[in-house]
Subunit: 267 residues, 2 copies
């Protein structure tokens, strides 16, 4: 995902500097001239942002919690430690919100991916060639309401709904593992025959759109197809599609629908 | 579970007849003199209930959806088919509620397990030797609130919460598979070191207590221990503990707490 965002920013003519976190980011970011830092080198980080005259910060990519010694905390970094440890206990959302505050308080506004690379956001309506049946859209809306109910608990960026039945909810295992679980339930005859069911993905309500937007890509389509689903419904405007053309093509090839749900009265 | 309920009813001096559903119930019910029927033999079922002068019906055990041909639907059974198919689409809760209505409308009140075998219900407070730390109880209450938020969607009889973070929510895969998932996340370093985390189990709010109460037993303790959890918190009065003594002993042996959460202001 970081590479997709960098690519989209360049395509929109934006200047950018890439800071890659050691042990977390992928080496392929080097093609954007990435500067590598350990997570704890906050003195170095803020010096870099000032020196390069950065007008804002975009946080991209999944965040693992690295071992303390791998963080190489510098003198300035230690002053953040207490806040960092407190944020970690507040879940992904809390941690990212806390880190955003560090940037904002030092004069670097945190920008959302939607602001710097709007072409990555899911549009409203049908994306591929397959039209979703009305029942599937009704099921997807029910799924979206369920995800909304989970948002205050900082969990649930995805679920699988079959007809009126929610069969899987995404936790720390992530979307791909949830889809593998549905495939296994199907193989073992615990679910009706394929193709049926919808993968619903949405950002949490109240979630900062600056950070940690959920995303799908061609791999998500492959997982949904293996799980015997009829299609995917994603929240328009708040969910990233990595490689939109490739994702839509994969959906077409698998015979799945791919639909951007709006939150307005009509979809 | 059906055997545990039959045993508890006999221990309380109640007369009972056991009807075992072919392809679903276990052969071991024969020791209660079970009468075997296919799921579709509703004519035979209601004739039996009348002939034996049954004063009520208790529905016990997990319900698979059998293949249509295995149901051996009799003449009377066919008159229920449309209602049955409609109920199936409404999830487990909807199906059980629909089946309850069939009994009630024909003069056989559906009784809850709590009514006929109250000794199986989880009591309030500590059950084993290990006392839950206050943070774990706070996390468990947060988990209970999350399950309550899911209830309107007929999903979520269990979850695993670590500190302020909900890491797994139970769907169609069931509690044991969810615990196995947490064990795997832990093995792969995606979660903090054990022992930490609480398995929270509750009945859905608004769920009929007549049917389909969630249950735990010694196997649940084994799964929670393998997942590196610190303990289990279950909803008191609305959750069944199969073999309470064996379950508490298993928790003690594994060093896990086992606690019955009340919904009142104090626990």
């Amino acid at each position: 995902m970081p590479a997709a965002v960098a690519q989209a920013m360049l395509a929109e003519g934006r200047a950018l500097r890439v800071i890659a976190i050691e042990g977390i980011a992928e080496r392929s970011l080097d093609r954007f001239g990435a500067t590598w830092m350990a997570l704890g080198q906050l003195g170095r980080l803020f010096a870099f942002l000032r020196r390069e005259n950065c007008g804002g910060v975009v946080m991209v990519g999944a965040m693992h919690r690295p071992a303390l010694r791998a963080m190489r905390i510098d003198a300035y970094g230690w002053t953040f430690l207490f806040d960092f440890l407190r944020n970690i206990r507040r879940g992904d959302d809390g941690m990212l919100r806390g880190m955003s505050r560090w940037f904002e308080e030092r004069g670097f506004p945190v920008l959302g991916i939607g602001e710097v690379a709007p072409r990555l956001l899911a549009p409203v309506g049908r994306l591929g060639a397959v039209a979703p049946p009305p029942e599937a859209l009704a099921a997807a809306r029910r799924g979206l309401a369920c995800l909304d109910a989970l948002s205050p608990f900082d969990v649930g960026q995805g679920l699988v709904v079959l007809g009126e039945r929610i069969v899987a909810i995404e936790g720390a295992e992530g979307t791909d593992a949830m889809l593998a679980r549905v495939a296994e339930l199907r193989d073992r005859g615990r679910l009706p025959r394929a193709p049926s069911g919808v993968l619903v993905k949405a950002a949490k309500t109240g979630q900062s759109l600056k950070v940690d937007l959920p995303a799908i890509g061609p791999a998500t389509i492959a997982g949904a197809a293996a799980a015997g689903l009829a299609g995917l419904a994603v929240e328009a405007g708040r969910l990233l599609i990595l490689d939109a053309a490739g994702t839509a093509a994969a959906a077409d090839a698998a015979g799945l629908f791919l639909f951007g749900l709006s939150r307005g009265p009509a979809a």
